[in-house]
């Protein structure tokens, strides 16, 4: 018996996908990943989309829980403000 692939919604963070999935872009072309557990961006600011790169921590991204269920993203989080040092790179 195989377990169903699971998508977990973490508060103020990404969607964690555990189990085999076929990840493709809009044309159906495969997006390579060699992990069995992946984190998908849901704050919209990752630099390695569709994967999460932790940027949600610096953008104030927050999810709201309603009725004990993981909520959807609030719209009022801020886009990252690139610092001078970052841009100089």
């Amino acid at each position: 018996m195989t377990r169903a692939t699971e998508i977990a919604c973490y508060p103020d963070g990404p969607l964690i996908v555990r189990g085999p999935v076929r990840l493709v872009d809009a044309t159906g072309t495969r997006i390579p990943t060699r992990r069995t557990t992946i984190a998908l961006c849901r704050c919209g600011h990752s630099r390695i989309k569709p994967f999460c790169d932790g940027t949600h921590r610096t953008t104030g991204f927050a999810t709201q829980e309603e009725d004990g269920r993981p909520g959807t993203a609030r719209a009022d989080h801020h886009a990252p403000e690139p610092s001078c040092a970052e841009e100089a790179g």
């Binding site: 990404p14 984190a39 790169d53």
Partner: protein, 162 residues
Amino acid sequence: VLADEYGGGRPEYLHAELYRQTLEAVGLDGSYGAYLDRLPGVTLATVNLMSMFGAHARWRGAIAGHLAVTEMTSSEANRRYGRAVRRLGYTSREATHYFDEHVEADAIHDVVAAHDLAGGLAEAEPDQGDTVVFGARALFLVERAFADHLLGAWAAGRSSLR
């Protein structure tokens, strides 16, 4: 988290192996412990703390809190490291792979370590909750001392090494 650290079972993706490649790609000695004798105590304390927590069952809460904070602060740091080595002209895959790998891997480890591992332990063993927080705060303390030493040496124009 362990599966990723061990390359998902593929030796060429072992994180220690990726780091050896990075060291050699930037002209450093990649052999095990090559620079150990040049590190001051304040630097070694950062890994000693982790080993001490990890080696004793009574500190299981502390190692969970330590790991959670390590992973929670790792993706962004590695993104910057990756950009820094590229800025210095080391653009080969060997030079950058270790850092790029950790941007993606530690974004996963972040939530797994914080919620499932540290949070799960505190939920299962509520009396470990204080120890989880202690481990996290101890990491900040020793990392701060290390960072002060490193940046102090940098500002003074000298090496942080012995």
